[in-house]
């Protein structure tokens, strides 16, 4: 895509989110800067603990109680979300910004029937009557591919299979036709064939409702299938941002390169996979300078002392690495 005439829907500036734990502060997101354009499909990718979920869930402020947003701004449609009160944010959640989780039971109440749960956002945000809302809910359930939606709307969540629960959650989250849909590893817990169905559904809904998609995943296959632009995170920092074709064909950051090469499919069978030595660092005491330097094959003295900033290297392609030139 790389459409720089597109409007910015969401602008994250200098965001710092730390978690307070007994052992100290976990610097989960450290100085994140990111722009998401209207109508695009943006993927935030990285391994466990890199901070991608924290970054994404900071937007609707759905973080655990020990999270502290220390600084920064999240500008959504000209409003700084971080400056809103809880009740003001509640109005935006569900109506303008919707979230789909890996575990559908985070959104579905096990003791309520599915129909009313899917209808609830309409009643809450648009003040429709329950009757109208339920009718819409049943339509929405049908739209997301649940067979016999009227019958199923009277079921409880436990009667749904994993894939169906996920669809129900998507139905619930899209009834209000939000502008931004945040999907946090929505298919990680699903079987591969169901995953393909759910991803297809998300793509279709995105086109149909014209919504902007922020997808979080650790699976590069999903990144390739689903997104226009990609942001790679490592140890709480955004290390590379670019459009999806550039990221795959010409990754500039050594970590991105390593990850893409790790992904199994690229090699012929039974040859050694390339691997990144070592393991991700502790976020309580991350390495000085570039956080990736202890594992980086190209690290030099500058990398150990000076933290690289995200610079735009070519149109739409940003990287935080002192040595990106030598990686070309």
């Amino acid at each position: 895509m790389g459409d720089f005439l597109a409007k910015t829907l969401l602008s994250i500036r200098d965001l710092r989110v730390y978690y307070e734990t007994i052992r100290g502060y976990v610097k989960a997101v450290d100085n994140a800067n990111l722009e998401i354009y209207e109508g695009e499909r943006f993927c935030l990718v990285g391994e466990t603990g890199c901070g991608k979920s924290t970054l994404a869930l900071a937007i609707p402020r759905l973080l655990p109680p020990n999270a502290r947003i220390l600084s920064g701004s999240i500008i959504f449609k000209n409003i700084d979300l971080l400056k809103l009160s809880d009740s003001e944010l509640e109005e935006i959640r569900g109506r303008d910004i919707a979230v789909v989780f890996q575990n559908p039971m985070r959104s579905l109440n096990p003791v309520l029937r599915v129909g009313p749960q899917v209808a609830e956002p309409l009643v809450a945000h648009f003040k429709t009557t329950w009757r109208e809302a339920l009718v819409s809910a049943i339509k929405q359930l049908s739209r997301v591919g649940i067979p016999d939606p009227e019958l199923r709307s009277r079921d409880y969540p436990h009667a749904f299979s994993g894939g169906m629960k996920q669809r129900a959650m998507i139905a619930m989250m899209t009834t209000c036709k939000p502008s931004l849909l945040i999907a946090d590893e929505p298919t990680t817990a699903l079987d591969v064939t169901i995953q393909a169905q759910v991803l297809k559904l998300i793509r279709e809904l995105k086109d149909e409702y014209g919504l902007t998609l922020l997808l979080i995943t650790h699976n590069f296959g999903i990144v390739a299938e689903m997104c226009d632009r990609v942001g790679v995170m490592y140890a709480g920092k955004l290390v590379e941002i670019g459009n999806v074709v550039d990221i795959f064909d010409l990754p500039l950051h050594p970590y991105t390169k390593g990850l893409i090469e790790c992904v199994v499919a690229r090699r012929k069978s039974k040859l050694r996979l390339s691997q990144i030595p070592g393991a991700p660092p502790s976020l309580i005491n991350p390495p000085r300078g570039c956080r990736f330097h202890p594992r980086c094959l190209y690290a030099n003295r500058r990398c150990v002392s000076e933290e690289p900033q995200l610079i735009e290297v070519s149109r739409g392609h940003l990287v935080a690495c002192h040595n990106y030139e030598s990686n070309r």
Binding site: K200, G221, A224, F248, S269, K270
Partner: protein, 336 residues
């Protein structure tokens, strides 16, 4: 040389809804037959409910089979004496998906690795220590990890300990049940490489259970695709990826997200619906409700596993008439 031969293996779990109702059966593994040659890797691929994990546990008699024959190194596993069973345990190993729950939280690494030695050998303390340290080094750990508890290790390190435990007695066969699924991508590659190294070094035979066809492709010589407790296709890895014959295999291949954005609008076979309930599988071919190619006979008669070509068997009524290579050209080209 055939190391393992399995014939018509079945594992049914009894499921009682109430005291008075008739018992129902979960047919987790419903008549599976295959063999594995020494030094090779068989990839067992399937989604949830396919029975692949149950198969792994049943082969090792960690779950008692309901019926069927298992021949390991020529011996009937079901008829082993106590000594025979001990030999069987010594000659086999297992690695689980979640490395943390497969290690005793109250045992240090040293103890975890000592136990197999203490049970099966009469090594003295010194020899034990030597063997343990050597094995740790083989899996990429070191002496410093000896006194650690599992919760003090990272996921990758925990899995290495689990692998060390499985191979410390130089077994013949190792069953690996999704050993990399819980690990980060960069660590997955390390562990897979480790497994390949260990295999060539010690002539190990692997049964590698996974839902991820890509990982299976990387490590397996042969791939067996399971669906709803039955084998639907079996062939060499190459053949499975270049000439799959079963619609389910094709749908699996089609559904894998390919890490190449240029292939995103490739042709696919779309599969609707979900895997069936193991309590009440569909009549006839278990895949027919979801199969875009199903015809009348598929609803009525269960297809037999028939030989399609040398080293390629399929259970599909339409195997001889359907060809998917055209549909899969994009994917196939990606892999070659």
């Amino acid at each position: 040389m055939r190391l393992l031969e399995v014939r018509d293996l079945k594992k049914y779990f009894e499921f009682k809804k109430g005291i008075l109702s008739k018992p129902q059966y979960i047919r987790a593994v419903d008549g599976v037959s295959f063999s594995v040659d020494k030094g090779t890797t068989l990839g067992v691929v399937g989604e949830s409910g396919s029975g692949k994990s149950t198969l792994g546990l049943t082969i090792l008699r960690l779950i008692e089979p309901t019926s069927g024959t298992i021949l390991f190194n020529g011996r009937d596993v079901m008829r082993l004496s106590n000594e025979g069973l001990k030999w069987f345990r010594r000659s086999t190993g297992i690695v689980f998906q979640d490395p943390y729950s497969s290690l005793n939280p109250r045992m240090r690494v040293k103890e975890i690795l000592e136990r197999p030695l203490k049970i099966h050998t009469d090594y003295d303390e010194k020899t034990c220590s030597e063997v343990i340290v050597k094995t740790l080094e083989e899996v990429g750990l070191s002496e410093e990890h000896l006194m650690r508890y599992p919760h003090e290790l990272s996921g990758g390190q925990q899995q290495r300990v689990a692998i060390a435990r499985a191979i410390i007695l130089r077994p013949l066969l190792v069953v690996l049940d999704e050993p990399t699924s819980s690990l980060d991508v960069s660590v997955q590659a390390q562990i897979l490489n480790l497994l390949l190294d260990l295999q060539s070094k010690h002539e190990l035979t692997y049964i590698f259970i996974t839902h991820d066809l890509l990982t299976a492709r990387h490590i397996s010589d042969y791939i067996m695709v399971m669906y709803a407790g039955k084998v639907v296709e079996y062939s060499t890895t190459r053949e499975i990826f270049t000439n799959p014959k079963h619609p389910y295999t094709v749908s699996l291949l089609s559904s894998i997200p390919i890490p190449d954005p240029k292939l995103r609008s490739r042709k696919r076979i779309e599969v609707t619906g979900e895997p069936p309930s193991p309590l009440n599988p569909p009549k006839g071919c278990r895949f027919h409700p979801r199969c875009p190619y199903a015809i009348e006979i598929c609803k009525l008669k269960e297809p037999e596993l028939l030989k399609y070509s040398k080293e390629h068997i399929v259970a599909c009524h339409r195997a001889s008439e359907l060809s998917f290579t055209e549909l899969l050209t994009d994917i196939i080209s990606f892999f070659t």
